[in-house]
């Protein structure tokens, strides 16, 4: 094994060590010590990942993927599964995003969680999350990826319910848990179907089989892809499985930044990119993904417009942006999807950390209408937040502009102008709520009283770094209007065979239309942003008047189109009803009856007779007899 092969293990190992040290011995550590351990556990692998990335760029195109197999996990006649890590450009990008953003969020959390009694618990969970995320990203097969997938789910669940004394937090954790199970159901079935059809779960072998004349029916491929996409939908909060993410904001803000904006929720996009060879051969599923992505992008952007909780705005915005990534996936431009994932991870992480800083400064205030004129008080926070919003709105020359533009153009090429137009509407609404958010919270009249906590350097430093990156990562989108951007060169061979067709199409098409559309959209977006900014800062009274006259619409948007109510009606109530029936009929009446009653029995022989008395025993015997009767009589019909 080569040096770099060995070093792959360090990436998951370091956060695992962090968990062990802080989890087992952390009780005796000072807070400082805990923080040092936790931050180092992310920082060291970040350095290693950087070094590996450097090596990877230098390496020739054929040897860009590094693999390391620890041992054979499962070996049966039909399938053998390895515990193996794979670091190709695709996972490299994800690893860097996870570790880079994770590192700064860890630093930020040290101050942010300073006063929290669950300080150690928080960092143990965070390191555990990083560990599982790395496993998810670097797994070289579906089964191991599922391990990471469940692991990050568990961490997310624990961290959403971190403030468990709050009932809403515990409920939100539970909701996230239940909704994600629906996705997992698809994932598990998908894996089983893949095993049965391909007899392997290794990504490299899967793509090898798919590239050959495999003779597997189109229907099977479509079903497998669809099942796996269901898993991605749950984790990446795509319509209609998105309902858990807005509630997940109950978790501490660094958690929202790391898990529910920058990394975990994007796992679905990464997963779909991993499965690109499969998706390429299931065109219906690609269309389905594109449609789901578009619905989510527009729907969530509209919902974000109706929120007045700063974190909820960002949560819906995250859902919407992931929708854009799925538009890219559905259009077959996986590189663009990954690029948007990177830029979004950075600027959304930045925005959440900024929101956290604002909350910190205003003693936990979340409602944006109770803020106003923060730019005067929190200069650095406001500036970085503004940069984040510009990137989110997709304004030139920030990173969001490059990534979003690539997606829009790809969608135009793949699905035509109507589809493109709807996506553009989504982008415009994004600009609108970005303008609104900044206008209401940071400009205009001051709507709060009391003192302001000035954030210290440890809080502003990560903001500054992330803001710089939010501006700078756009470079990777250069040169524009070609398939040969810097980013896709880094991604190298990851999607080479699958995107070849696309590249040719772009080369053949004219650039003129693309450039014209881009410029036009840009101008409209900037206009919308500026207008929103003005309306919600200077002419706020008019805006209030306007929204008062359309109160119902506002409430509808605020409730996310009433999806929660719909879920309640469609799923929760019938489920409770069934559980209740099971409980009352099977449990309460037939079974629980005497067990609870026996406590009242006075004499020692009471137990003996109560069992005979209650008729329970008779029910049990009848149940046995009925079972036998069924079996025997059906047997009779089976007799040849």
């Amino acid at each position: 094994m080569t040096m770099s092969g060995m070093s792959l293990y360090f990436l998951p190992l370091a956060p695992a060590l962090g968990v062990l040290i802080n989890g087992l011995a952390g009780k005796h550590f000072s807070r400082q010590m805990i923080a040092i351990v936790a931050v180092t556990a992310v920082g060291v692998p970040l350095l290693i990942a950087g070094w590996l990335c450097y090596q990877m760029i230098l390496a020739p195109a054929t040897t860009k993927a590094m693999t390391a197999t620890l041992y054979q996990w499962i070996s049966t006649t039909a399938v053998s599964i390895n515990i193996g890590l794979l670091l190709d450009p695709l996972s490299m990008v994800m690893v860097l995003v996870v570790l880079f953003i994770g590192f700064f969020i860890h630093i930020y959390s040290v101050v942010y969680m300073k006063e929290d009694p669950g300080f150690r618990r928080f960092f143990v969970y965070m390191n555990l999350f990083i560990f599982f995320m790395i496993i998810l990203v670097m797994a070289d097969n579906l089964a191991l990826m599922f391990v990471g997938w469940e692991g990050v789910g568990l961490c997310s669940y624990l961290l959403i319910g971190f403030r468990h004394e709050k009932k809403s937090a515990a409920d939100a954790g539970r909701k996230a848990f239940v909704v994600n199970r629906i996705g997992d159901f698809g994932f598990i079935l998908g894996i089983l179907l893949v095993i049965v059809t391909f007899h392997t779960v290794q990504f490299s072998e899967l793509s090898k089989i798919l590239a050959s004349h495999h003779g597997i029916s189109n229907l099977t491929l479509t079903i497998a892809a669809l099942l796996l996409f269901t898993g991605a939908m749950g984790k990446s909060a795509q319509f209609p499985l998105h309902v858990w993410l807005p509630d997940a904001m109950e978790g501490p803000t660094p958690v929202s930044a790391l898990i529910h904006a920058a990394t975990m929720v994007n796992a679905g996009v990464y997963f779909m990119c991993r499965m690109a060879p499969l998706l390429q051969q299931a065109p219906y599923v690609l269309t389905f993904i594109a449609v789901i992505g578009l619905i989510t992008a527009v729907y969530a952007a509209l919902s974000a417009l109706g929120q007045d909780d700063i974190k909820k705005v960002l949560a819906y915005s995250t859902i919407s942006q992931i929708g854009f990534m799925f538009i890219a996936v559905g259009s077959g431009i996986f590189t663009a999807g990954m690029f948007h994932l990177v830029t979004h991870g950075i600027f959304k992480g930045l925005l959440f950390l900024g929101a956290g800083a604002v909350m910190h400064a205003l003693h936990g205030e979340l409602n944006i209408y109770n803020m106003g004129d923060l730019s005067g008080h929190l200069k650095i926070v406001a500036a970085t937040f503004f940069i984040g919003l510009l990137a989110l709105a997709g304004i030139f020359p920030l990173s969001g502009f490059f990534s979003k533009d690539a997606i829009l153009w790809g969608a135009f090429e793949q699905y035509g102008s109507w589809y493109w137009l709807l996506a553009v509407v989504g982008a415009l609404i994004t600009a609108l709520y970005c303008g609104k958010l900044f206008g209401v919270a940071f400009l205009g009249k001051q709507n709060f009283s009391g003192t302001i906590h000035k954030p210290d350097a440890v809080i502003t430093m990560p903001l500054a770094v992330l803001a710089f990156c939010a501006v700078g990562t756009g470079v990777f989108g250069l040169p524009m209007f070609t398939p040969n951007t810097l980013f896709s060169r880094i991604m190298g061979s990851s999607f080479a065979p699958t995107e070849a067709g696309h590249a040719v199409a772009v080369a053949a098409g004219s650039h003129t239309l693309e450039i014209v559309l881009t410029v036009a959209v840009s101008i409209i977006v900037i206009t919308v942003f500026i207008i929103a900014l003005r309306i919600f800062s200077i002419h706020r009274d008019k805006a209030a008047l306007f929204s008062a006259s359309y109160r119902k619409t506002g409430e509808f948007l605020h409730a996310g189109f009433g999806m929660d109510g719909l879920y309640d009606l469609l799923w929760v109530r019938p489920y409770e009803w069934i559980a209740q029936i099971c409980h009352t009929v099977i449990d309460r009446i037939i079974i629980d009856g005497t067990v609870n009653g026996t406590g009242k029995m006075a004499n020692a022989t009471g137990g003996l007779f109560s069992a005979l008395h209650s008729g329970q025993l008779r029910y049990y015997a009848v149940s046995i007899l009925a079972g036998v009767f069924t079996f025997v009589s059906v047997t009779y019909f089976l007799i040849p």
């Binding site: 089983l192 067990v595 015997a621």
Partner: protein
């Protein structure tokens, strides 16, 4: 008719003789203080000794009593599993009995007798031998469940268990009668020769298969023969419940596997139909009813019913990979279920009453290691990677899909997803609720049990990460069949 001395071959039953002798010796110990370690020590020594004896017979196919009992690798593996479970149960019992002033000798003797019964069930090649083994096991368990006569629930549980158990034994016996009617013999191996020469009555054999499945279905507590389980587990001493929830299932599954393997060439429709019905019903009813349980033991009982449903899927393709998958599931089930019951024993040492799930509120703050272990067991029972439970389920599902039972796997996966809810509720209660002062301090010395639980938890993770070794052993055992 002249007397021909049977070929006894005493080596074939040495482990049982050892257990029997030490069990009978224990009957004479009267240690009423309940403090001594001698009695459980002797009991565990006997189990360990027989556990050491059994593997020495590996690969030899030692037959005794005119081949009424055959120690092939298959039975050695199952017997080792039973021995391990009994050992854990003895260790748990020591802690449970400590608080109660009872004479322990009989208690441990009965556990040893139960192990003898299970060993006989597993190694027996004749339905009559199997039946007698089953009865020895059942009688010991009836008494163990009602061991503390002063507890009403315990009495009620034992009466229920006894009456229904006798009822199901009668059905099993009826099955044997049909079997005899079909073949003119009660040996399991006779089926194979009879099928080859087609000298049997198919109608009666099918009926026998259905009835035998029924009798064993009671022992493994599968729906619709499950209703005794929650009441009995909850009424019994928890240490007995832990034994009851695992060991008889292992033995009964060994018998089921043997019978199904033998008769399925002739009666595959009946057996597969019966097993499908039991599996699907167990998964659905077990999991859904477990959702609303408030008592921890009751929840574990329903979870056990559901787990049996998953295991039964393995019986659908016993000739292919179903057999090894089932055995792997069972061996992992020992780890996680005994672990969960072990934690329950530690927690019940304070309460002494019916243990509710909510009683565990916030226990993680006071007992971090115990809570971590419990979480691992719950995660494993739920079948989440990288624990042993995940791979157990995964293996079973895979074999079922290969055998063409996709719809059953779909049901099973849906039910797995449902089950996550109640397993995770335990974790959530432990980690995410306000601490209740009820259980905040567990008194007494729990070092040994804690070490055992640690080992179990570690093994649960370890076999989840590297299940290969176990699978290898199991495949080797089944290759001889």
């Amino acid at each position: 008719m002249n007397f021909i001395a049977p070929n006894v071959n005493i080596i074939s039953v040495m482990p049982e003789i050892l257990l029997l002798l030490s069990g009978t010796a224990l009957l004479f110990f009267r240690n009423c203080a309940g403090q001594g370690k001698a009695i459980p020590g002797i009991a565990s020594a006997a189990i360990i000794l027989q556990g050491l004896m059994i593997p020495t017979l590996w690969g030899n196919n030692i037959a005794g009593f005119n081949s009424l009992i055959v120690r092939d690798n298959f039975s050695i593996l199952f017997q080792t599993m039973v021995g391990a479970t009994a050992l854990l149960a003895v260790a748990f019992s020591h802690y449970y009995l400590k608080q109660r002033k009872v004479s322990e000798g009989e208690y441990y003797a009965l556990i040893l007798y139960a192990v003898v019964g299970m060993n006989v069930m597993i190694a027996g090649r004749d339905l009559l031998v199997i039946f007698l083994g089953m009865e020895i096991l059942s009688l010991s368990l009836y008494v163990l469940v009602g061991f503390f006569r002063d507890i009403n629930e315990s009495m009620e549980a034992t009466v229920k268990y006894f009456l229904l158990g006798a009822f199901s034994s009668a059905l099993f016996l009826l099955g044997i009668a049909f079997f005899f009617g079909a073949l003119g013999a009660t040996g399991i191996d006779n089926v194979t020769t009879a099928i080859e020469q087609s000298g049997f009555n198919i109608m009666l054999l099918m009926m026998a298969a259905a009835l035998l499945c029924t009798g064993l279905g009671f022992k493994i507590a599968s729906v619709p023969f499950h209703m005794w389980a929650p009441d009995t587990y909850e009424g019994a001493p928890i240490s007995v419940a832990s034994l009851l929830s695992v060991a008889p299932k292992i033995a009964a599954f060994a018998v089921l596997l043997r019978i199904v393997l033998a008769v399925s060439p002739a009666t595959s429709q009946v057996t597969s139909y019966t097993i499908i019905a039991m599996a699907v019903a167990s998964m659905i009813i077990g999991n859904i009813t477990a959702l609303r349980q408030t008592g921890l033991i009751r929840m574990l009982a329903y979870s056990g019913i559901a787990q049996v449903g998953f295991m039964l899927i393995g019986l659908l393709s016993p000739e292919q990979e179903g057999g090894p998958a089932l055995m792997f599931y069972l061996s992992m089930y020992i780890l996680m279920n005994m672990g969960a019951f072990g934690v329950a024993i530690v927690f019940s040492m304070v309460e002494g009453k019916r243990l509710l799930i909510n009683d565990l509120s916030g226990i993680a703050a006071h007992r971090p290691f115990l809570s971590l272990a419990m979480s691992i067991f719950m995660i494993s029972l739920a079948g989440i990677p990288p624990t042993a439970g995940f791979f157990a389920k995964f293996y079973i599902f895979k074999t079922a899909i290969e055998a063409g039972y996709l719809w059953i796997v779909v049901v099973a996966v849906i039910m797995t997803v449902v089950s996550l809810y109640y397993y995770f509720r335990v974790i959530m209660v432990m980690y995410m609720s306000e601490a209740s002062d009820k259980l905040s301090t567990v008194s007494g010395d729990v070092t040994v049990i804690a070490v055992l639980l640690g080992v179990l938890a570690f093994a649960t993770i370890l076999f989840g990460i590297m299940p290969g070794s176990i699978i290898g052993i199991i495949s080797k055992a089944l290759a001889f069949m």
